[in-house]
Subunit: 461 residues, 2 copies
């Protein structure tokens, strides 16, 4: 999947991981094009004056910005920043391009790299100093259009996680403390890693309100001939998606890839015996791969003669290939193949006559049961609490905690302070969009004030 | 197409240009996948020790390298370079991954941005400080495999120019002076811009030989159990392709887009008259767009009510849309549309009953005739010369000069020195792979020594 690089916090994305990224990209790119969002490309570099224009925003990013100060042997007149995100790169031009209501909506997206020179725990995919992402930046005449799009994009992010990566996520809203710096509100899809007991922000879709349009003067003349400020959104998902998938599905044997994102869905391994018809077995393997590939299934044969079948089984299990097909002398004689699932080890013999249909069914089943199993593990970690004592106990058990909350920033800060420790403090993950009922008189678990909403809490990445 | 950016030499690629890039990318990416080349992503950053490993190579790039020296307010311990190209980024890992002959060939590609902080004449698409490209990096056990791939890739580059961008190119080999720094030999597709009388390097496919594998110790055990050095290639095309297309086809009215890369192939303009059936005309326009889109033709309607049809004609001509459809009262009455070609202004009335077939034919014709016209203009600029006087005269006439050459580096340097002037010096563009015959006794136009090959000369971008 990845290789460590000689610069700390940077990683090499190898083809096995890159093809997962490409599969998601193909889906998402087609979906946003249906929404009439267009791709573009803005520069990697930002000049300092522009970068510093929106104060809250830059405060959030300033410590992580990488600065170019030299080219060749010469010092630059002014240091130039590398984009940590492109709001400030793009919006001066939105201001230029948007004059009248006919110029709206303006809906752009770019696929690119960004740099955030973080110093805390670089982790492959999850927290790296350079990463790949898409970033969408849209501007509308009205808040309700912006609000609608925020949720449409969030739904696409849910589909990436649940339908492609087989990772269950919760759609929610970030607290004021955790929202995007400079924005109005942030929606998120939140995943949870049972093994470590930590939540992880999967992807975010922000409504920026009119904060940036105020700073960057994105002003248009509306249909009545009045000046108005544009409503803006920005939204992004990153290569972190791959890391979340790895952590959610991986087991003791290694990676487990959901079929929809696996670049090899079926690996075919010949299992010859001393006195068996080796050539016949190899031919059957080759024919099987051909049949499957023709049907649009990504199949490959491991024909290496310097490794044993057993070694190959472990190798492809470690790499996470969803389905292994073995063909030995008995299979050859019976005109069948043996299929072995990566997710649960189940073995089944399939007649070669109906191979394509059965393999397709099996791959669909694996995709589905990976999701169901992950959801069961995740749901088993969710704990509803109503009091501080219950909260502390659940946190000790590394749960994803759903609690009634007064929704006050000071209380969240206080919870953070009170739970500080070796494992890291607890914070809000999100308030789920689907809110359970709050019975009259329900109190905040932390402050004892009247609860305004249910919110997920926990440690996070 | 582009917007100038507030950092000199950086440009914003707007959707109109980005979609051209995406069309080419889709084609090229599918073709290299057929060749079993896999996509990956290596970091943007290079540490200085690695960057400087191959001396000839770094000498070629050193003055243009951008250096990151700070993150936030802190100085980095060691300055870090931004990739100008990724040979030195990747090859330490090739050395790690390649151990035995079974690890070869290793064939990787990445789509990314690179930075070359040039100071000479930044020009949109043609010479920018950051640009998008693909870079392929492959390693083989034998030179003949590497040689074969160099030409396979070069053929794909030819197809991008000729089949997509309708730009004629010449396949050739670069001189020793002009080849890629650190490589063994460089092949190129060379285009020519008649208006300015300059050649332009379209894309290059390099055989690196064993130079880099020596420096980076990319050593494998061959089938006989002996240590051997890998043979390597690297190849790239950039967003410059778009700039070449713009310069080759553009006219006084603006851009001319070949249909295969146009994001809008057909623009439909309603032409209502005062007392005509305006609603009927608009409905016919909408129906026409629907019919064409369903047939896979990218069609759009310009329904804006604040611009006249005439204004719209000019607008879409300037943007280069290959075909305009006008629907007025007469067309409505006759159940036809009027189609107007961007490339030659030809008008034709088409019955709505056979619209799809006729529009498809027309788009194919436009694609073809753009190429033919561009080739005629380019060919008219090619001048064969045999003597220095003829060479100087042809250069004065801004020709692309084909001349017999002794193939000596000193002679090329001498030609450069002797032709230095306001317009820039002449240099070799390439030696065409298809060499005309060289009759016995043919002499070099510049040195008078026996000629070894025909070579194209001229001023270049």
């Amino acid at each position: 999947m990845i290789e460590y690089y000689d610069i700390s916090g940077c990683y090499i994305i190898r083809p096995w991981a890159m093809s997962i990224w490409e599969t998601m990209q193909k889906f998402f790119d087609a979906e946003i094009k249906k929404m009439k969002i267009q791709n573009c490309y803005f520069p990697l570099f930002v000049s300092p004056t522009v970068l510093q224009k929106e104060k809250d925003h830059i405060e959030g990013f300033a410590p992580e910005v990488a600065w170019v100060t030299k080219s060749g042997e010469s010092d630059l007149e002014v240091p130039i920043a590398i984009r940590p995100t492109s709001e400030t790169v793009m919006y001066p031009y939105y201001s230029k391009w948007i004059r009248g209501h006919r110029d709206l909506p303006l809906k752009l997206n770019q696929w690119c790299n960004v740099v955030r020179w973080e110093f805390s725990n670089p982790t492959p995919f999850i927290r790296s100093r350079e990463f790949l992402w898409q970033e969408g930046h849209t501007a509308f005449a009205t808040k309700s259009e912006a609000d609608d799009e925020v949720l449409q994009i969030l739904e696409l992010y849910r589909r990436i996680y649940e339908e492609f990566l087989a990772v269950p996520v919760i759609k929610g809203k970030k607290s004021e403390l955790e929202k995007f710096a400079g924005g109005l509100y942030t929606t998120t899809v939140e995943a949870f890693i049972p093994n470590t007991g930590r939540g992880i922000q999967g992807a975010t879709s922000h409504c920026l309100g009119q904060n940036f349009s105020k700073m960057f003067e994105i002003i248009f003349e509306n249909e009545k001939g009045e000046k108005a400020m544009a409503w803006q959104n920005s939204w992004a998902y990153t290569t972190r998606t791959i890391g979340v998938m790895v952590m959610v599905h991986g087991d003791d044997k290694g990676l487990v890839l959901p079929p929809r994102v696996a670049s090899v869905q079926v690996i075919v391994v010949p299992v010859p015996y001393k006195d068996a018809d080796t050539q016949g077995i190899f031919d059957a393997c080759t024919a099987t791969v051909e049949t499957l590939c023709e049907a649009g299934i990504c199949a490959n044969m491991d024909s290496r003669d310097n490794y044993s079948p057993g070694w190959k089984y472990s190798h492809w299990e470690m790499k996470g290939v969803p389905l292994r097909i073995e063909i030995g002398p008995k299979d050859l004689a019976k005109n069948q193949v043996r299929a072995v699932r990566r997710d649960n080890g189940a073995k089944v013999d399939l007649p070669r006559s109906s191979l394509v249909e059965r393999i397709k069914e099996l791959l669909d089943e694996i995709q589905e049961s990976l999701f169901v199993a992950a959801k069961q593990r995740r749901d088993a970690c969710i704990q509803i609490v109503k009091t501080w004592d219950e909260f502390v106990e659940a946190l000790g058990q590394r749960k994803m905690i759903l609690a009634p909350w007064c929704d006050e920033e000071e209380v969240e800060k206080d919870v953070k302070a009170r739970t500080k420790g070796e494992m890291g403090a607890a914070k809000t993950l999100c308030s789920p969009l689907e809110q359970p009922e709050i019975p009259e008189g329900t109190l905040c678990f932390a402050s004892g004030k009247p609860a305004k909403r249910w919110s997920y809490w926990g440690r996070s990445y």
